[in-house]
């Protein structure tokens, strides 16, 4: 079961985003999600979530199981093991994972443009539109806006996460 799920998590990365979107189109049409913000949200989740699973696959190893068992023999239940031990241990990984999945979604173009069919416009799609239209001023402005959140997250990560890891 675990192996099958792990194998499935690589699926969105084996295919090109446009091909992946084409595969999803049929189901999104059936569900009435095509061209809707919810549809784009679900599609982006289907790319970002497997990445998070891959990112955390090494965390759920023997050592984590040993921590859980240790807490149990010390008198703690599963919730206490999760809240008082596993979550604090995984805190830095969670922040980095959030940062990376945010970047995946933020810069996603192919999937968003097909599922959103031009009706749902993210900043990344806008940048491409402005460049295609040779609208250099708006293009430059949107590029600057596009880079702002990642720079801010990079600063927060460096200030509060990476420095603590070293």
């Amino acid at each position: 079961m675990k192996r099958t799920i792990t194998l499935l998590t690589y699926f969105p990365y084996i295919l090109a985003p446009v091909v992946f979107a084409a595969c999803l189109s049929y189901f999104f049409l059936k569900l009435g999600l095509f061209g809707k913000p919810v549809g784009v949200f679900v599609a982006q989740f289907m790319v970002a979530f497997p990445y998070a699973l891959i990112f955390f696959s090494s965390f759920w190893g023997e050592k984590t199981k040993s921590y859980e068992e240790l807490v149990a023999t010390l008198g703690g239940n599963q919730w206490q093991a999760f809240r008082k031990v596993l979550l604090p241990i995984a805190k830095n990984m969670l922040v980095i994972c959030f940062f990376q999945t945010f970047l995946i979604s933020w810069f996603e173009y192919g999937l968003t443009s097909i599922i959103g069919v031009g009706k749902v416009q993210t900043l990344t799609i806008k940048v491409f539109l402005f460049i295609k239209e040779s609208n250099f001023y708006y293009g430059a402005l949107s590029c600057r806006l596009l880079i702002l959140p990642p720079v801010l997250l990079l600063y927060i990560n460096k200030r509060y996460v990476f420095n603590k890891l070293i």
Partner: protein, 240 residues
């Protein structure tokens, strides 16, 4: 007897890992169990600790059948070879962990932890994080974290296996002292012959899932299977 293990069996994928395990242990005594890697020692400890469910047999602790008691309610602490200190907590918080879980009031926790820190000779290290400690210090904190909860039984799975010879000897002395001071009942698993003899009030030898507990240390030494005689011959041979 305080601990009674009766006819425990366990198989993994048709391979019988623990075969008809039977032994008893009196309160405040240590049974050291010697065995090679893969002989079923860890599985045996995990079954007693409630972390692995046996295929058959019964375990009685202080006269009570504990087969269906969950690990958190057994009052049996299992210590791994690795110290498994919680990396986000300092020495004080690591030792206090089990007490905080049991919602004991803060002033009592502080008193008991300071007492334990003194017993473990860790004064002045309270605020240090695990990565700032040596291997021996980490193992001491791990002991303290387990013992402070007053477990009915302590299960030690090769706890000094990763320590150097000198630190190992000091930790053996410390454990003997702590076990006597806190009147601990324990099962001490090791693959080190000398450690098995030093640490246990009684000695058992585990081979291919079967455990034999010896009546005395002399009978353990006399048995050819344990390898003690070979060890003695080796050292005698060197002195000739």
């Amino acid at each position: 007897m305080f601990l009674e293990v009766q006819h425990i069996v366990k198989s993994f994928h048709k391979e019988e890992v623990v075969k008809d395990l039977n032994f008893t242990l009196a309160a405040h005594q240590t049974l050291s169990i010697l065995g090679q890697s893969g002989c079923g020692k860890t599985t045996m400890l995990k079954i007693i600790g409630g972390l692995v469910r046996p295929d058959g047999g019964h375990i009685y602790l202080n006269g009570n059948l504990i087969d269906d008691v969950t690990p958190e309610k057994r009052s049996i602490v299992y210590l791994y070879q690795e110290d498994l200190l919680f990396p986000h907590l300092n020495v004080f918080e690591n030792i206090a962990f089990g007490l905080k879980i049991k919602k004991i009031n803060a002033s009592e926790i502080t008193d008991r932890v300071h007492l334990m820190i003194t017993s473990l000779e860790l004064q002045g290290q309270e605020k240090k994080m695990p990565h700032q400690l040596s291997g021996g210090q980490r193992q001491r904190v791990s002991f303290g974290r387990a013992i402070i909860t007053n477990p009915a039984l302590l299960l030690l799975d090769e706890p000094f296996g990763s320590l150097d010879t000198g630190t190992r000897a000091r930790m053996q002395d410390l454990f003997k002292r702590i076990a006597s001071e806190f009147r601990i009942t324990s099962l001490f698993v090791t693959h080190d012959l000398k450690e098995a003899i030093l640490m246990g009030d009684h000695i058992g030898y585990m081979q291919s899932g079967k455990l034999k507990v010896y009546e005395s240390k002399e009978s353990f030494i006399q048995d050819d299977h344990t390898g003690v005689q070979k060890e003695i011959d080796f050292w005698k041979g060197l002195t000739k």
